[in-house]
């Protein structure tokens, strides 16, 4: 049985991007790299929302990425990827499968197979959908020490969701990693 894990950055007030889709406040350094490469090492499949996939495909298949971050560029290109989209006809990046309307059944099938984690990165809408369908096993949030005030919500859930704390780690650059496991829906409310 495989786990579906999602990793994303959030500001302290719960935004994923500011209103200009700027991400410069997401501070990464050597300590982050070591941790992040560890989670990528545990992943057998990458699951991405369409917007995140497009951004990743453009950057990580570029000569610039191979130059500045060859380890991650090679790893992300080689790993099997599933992009969730009902409109994408052809994927622009190697080792990609496009999953459309049948995604939920496909993920339930994939989870039953042996293997490494199915890893979601930076896909806020997809992550919230996975939480609400009960498919997500682990939510890893890197909380940046910044207040944005407004922007794209990191957790656009349509109902309240109870979680269980599975771990936390303070990074030297002020980032705070929080790891949660969503509770089954019937336990989500204290009422």
């Amino acid at each position: 049985v495989r786990k579906i894990c999602s990793f994303l950055f959030a500001s302290l007030d719960g935004f994923h991007e500011d209103t200009n889709h700027e991400l410069h406040w997401q501070d990464v350094d050597d300590e982050f790299d070591e941790w992040d490469l560890g989670q990528l090492d545990e992943a057998g499949t990458m699951l991405l929302g369409r917007v995140t996939y497009d951004g990743f495909a453009e950057f990580w298949s570029s000569a610039e990425a191979l130059d500045v971050d060859p380890v991650r560029a090679k790893l992300l290109t080689a790993i099997p990827k599933v992009v969730v989209s009902t409109t994408m006809a052809e994927a622009p990046w190697a080792n990609t499968t496009i999953a459309g309307t049948g995604i939920e059944a496909e993920l339930r099938r994939l989870k039953e197979l042996p293997g490494k984690n199915i890893q979601v990165i930076g896909s806020a809408k997809l992550t919230s959908w996975l939480i609400e369908t009960g498919l997500l096993d682990e939510l890893r949030v890197m909380v940046s020490p910044v207040l944005l005030g407004t922007g794209i919500p990191a957790f656009p859930v349509s109902r309240m969701v109870g979680l269980d704390l599975a771990g936390s780690r303070q990074f030297g650059n002020g980032n705070m990693l929080l790891i949660y496991r969503p509770r089954p829906e019937q336990d989500a409310s204290a009422a």
Binding site: V143, L147, L148, M160, S168, Q170, M176, L178, A190, A191
Partner: protein
């Protein structure tokens, strides 16, 4: 010059404050007490020179703590210096309490200049949001519950432009809340 510390107990991962009557509020109250968190907050309270709060929080505390000898915070809160920010509260009936009826920023500035140490702000929702809106907080102590509220009263909704903070420390408690302390270097005020 005193620093203003805002302590927020009921904060969600998505930045929502648990207002009374919401499912999030019930979720927070259902979480077990952790002796380590009680000790953590007792230290905070003992360090504070002044306790400030809005009317709603004041009425909750003043109606309960004076006769709650066994409550872990009763001794400190009953003896401590308190200021309640309200234009409508007729009187306090709680020892060592004054009412600040004027402009929040002006009255708080006077309290800050009145000595050293910490002023700790206790909430509630509307008072905390007023402090954030006017950028009057030097240090945030947030207790993040394992919860996504989806919607509700956002503590930081009135932040008009991005504010950088510095993470000071963090503590994960046995009841699954994580307390984080963030400092803010505010712009000098004219």
């Amino acid at each position: 010059m005193r620093t203003v510390v805002l302590n927020v107990f009921d904060y969600s991962l998505d930045g929502i404050l648990a207002a009374e009557g919401t499912e999030f509020f019930d979720f927070c109250r259902a979480a077990p007490d952790d002796p380590a968190e009680v000790a953590w907050f007792s230290d905070c309270l003992a360090r504070a020179e002044v306790h400030i709060m809005g009317r709603v929080t004041f009425e909750g505390m003043a109606g309960y703590l004076p006769d709650a000898a066994d409550h872990p915070y009763a001794g400190i809160m009953n003896a401590g210096r308190k200021a309640v920010f309200s234009r409508t509260l007729p009187g306090t009936g709680w020892a060592n309490t004054t009412i600040a009826r004027g402009d929040l920023a002006t009255d708080l500035a006077a309290l800050r200049e009145d000595g050293d140490g910490e002023i700790i702000a206790h909430g509630g929702v509307s008072f905390a949001r007023s402090l954030v809106r006017a950028d009057l907080v030097d240090e945030f102590r947030l207790h993040t519950f394992p919860y996504l509220a989806g919607s509700g009263e956002s503590l930081f909704a009135d932040v008009a432009k991005p504010r950088e903070l510095a993470l000071v420390c963090s503590t994960a408690f046995g009841n699954q809340t994580v307390a984080t302390i963030y400092r803010r270097d505010r712009e000098p005020r004219g």
